[in-house]
Symmetry: C2
Subunit: 327 residues, 2 copies
């Protein structure tokens, strides 16, 4: 579709329960790509052997992430639109965590033949909406058949200034956090016990709201390290501590614990701070700043960087898991 | 790993039959990324939230493709190294088909917990080798657990001149082909009947040899359209005919039919040209050139472009399937 054109309704000619097998590969791709409006930087969007993009920067940021049904999402817990939002958010957040901005994404889908077209198009709509929030276009993709639903996303973007790595934290820096943290983990805990409230926590799991402005702002302000919290706050701070060769201490009392988190923890007999310390699905950002820097908008100091190694909470190693791993 | 360093043997500390679950996510990723030497254009390779690349061109080509076990490859027909080569080749070929050159790839893997680490590392080795053939680096990736093995690749590159699309063919142009065509389809036919020879055809299926120099050469020579043959020669020419608004005629006698193809067809009682006309796994290239152009090295004229629509063989519609679809 040429840049700027409005997508037509792609599902108009199919019954509501048509599956991918009913519709066929090429028509599914056509219906899906019709959802993806192309930004001005896109010379050739979906449909040729490759997409062709213009960049005003000679630096390219690229990251890729997979999501697997029943591992990263459950179709009875999330709508297709939620899954689309989450798949895009997870990748957009990776560029946010370099201080960058995304301009383009590709969307690869391996899907069972019996998947309804309507479900896939809803996923596409959610994906496109989340990309639009970050100002990025869906420029290409792939669709293939599989037994299990897998969503494979790659995101491209740029930094206006030098990207902020995990390896630059220095003793004396301030540790800061941007975005909601622990909400999605609490929402997931609620859903996995068969409940649907507190609604704010469940919605935070279904549709994270990564702080897309916070990454570039941190870079502009001179952040020394930056990471997105996708494995769990303590686990990801562990990556920063290891890459930077420093010790990081989180101050418990500096962490925001909203009423919804308290309610979930009370219902389950746990500590609400555990969600904050080990949750990953919010795609918040953690950064370190030199002590003299005024923290930019959206950032809150939550700890300190010192000499040494490892991550502590109020000076003590945290008991229990720091996050989760895939194998 | 810094650019230019030689990767250490990453599997040294694990028993030969260790599975991904035995080794754990982070050590698997470490072992895998140790295989990927980084080119000079890579500022930050695998290990941070995103890779950071330098490009000397303001145009970016990007394409993505998925491969699913038992659909795109079978582990009893192909070695892990073959699968790695094929996954890279399929994506590198997409940029070749724009007249471009790849510089960077990402490798996403969804894999069962019981997959042997050794198998995955062999895949990584094959992938890296194929990327090196095209002068490209593996700059990032993702690893997650799934029931089914899925390999999701994204390739980035540039064109020195304007990319060649599917939509530029004009009546009067010459149709030309570069690379082996039909060999892999014959090899697949052999394997699916439980045989292992002719070896050249089977090897062509296991490890395609896309003509990576042919795409940029065609662009330099002024090709009006360019496509890689991944769905089948007639099917992909159909995409060109539709995108360009032209008719394409393939001349049967111009198509190379090597002895191995004849042998496979004879053993199966079919026409060897069917492999050439409908095979897709060789990742050959088809292009159209203005009639006055001397075809560049590696290209052979196989037909003509006329006014009208659709694809014919010696003036007649081909009977039977033009290629294959995923749903």
């Amino acid at each position: 579709m040429p840049p700027g054109e409005t997508p037509a309704d792609p599902s108009r000619s199919w019954p509501a329960d048509a599956t991918l097998a009913d519709v066929g590969e090429f028509e599914v791709i056509e219906a899906l790509t019709a959802l993806f409006a192309q930004g001005e930087h896109v010379e050739v969007g979906p449909g040729d052997d490759a997409a062709v993009l213009w960049s005003d920067d000679d630096q390219i940021l690229v990251s890729t992430d997979l999501m697997v049904q029943d591992r990263h999402f459950r179709r009875d817990w999330c709508s297709a639109e939620d899954v689309g939002h989450r798949a895009a958010a997870q990748n957009l957040s990776d560029l946010n965590a370099m201080g960058g901005r995304a301009h383009s994404l590709t969307l690869g889908i391996a899907a069972p033949a019996h998947l309804p077209l309507a479900w896939l198009l809803e996923l596409g709509r959610g994906f496109a909406e989340e990309c639009a929030l970050a100002g990025a276009s869906v420029v290409g993709g792939d669709l293939t058949r599989a037994e299990e639903l897998v969503v494979a996303v790659t995101v491209l973007g740029t930094c206006r200034i030098d990207p902020v790595l995990r390896s630059g934290a220095e003793p004396g820096d301030v540790l800061a956090l941007a975005g909601r943290q622990g909400w999605a983990a609490a929402g997931l805990a609620v859903l996995s016990r068969g409940f649907r409230s507190p609604r704010a926590m469940v919605e935070a799991y279904r549709r994270p709201e990564p702080p897309y402005a916070a990454g570039p702002r941190a870079a502009d302000a001179g952040a020394t390290s930056l990471v997105d919290v996708s494995d769990g706050l303590l686990a990801d701070l562990g990556h920063v501590a290891a890459a930077s060769g420093v010790a990081i201490d989180v101050r418990r009392e500096a962490l925001a614990v909203p009423e919804g988190l308290r309610a979930v923890a009370a219902a389950m007999g746990g500590d609400p701070l555990d969600f904050v310390l080990t949750g990953g699905d919010d795609h918040s950002l953690a950064a370190t700043f030199p002590a003299h820097v005024d923290l930019p908008e959206g950032w809150t100091a939550i700890g300190t960087v010192g000499a040494g190694s490892g991550v502590t909470v109020d000076g003590t190693p945290h008991e229990g898991a720091a996050g989760w791993t895939h194998f």
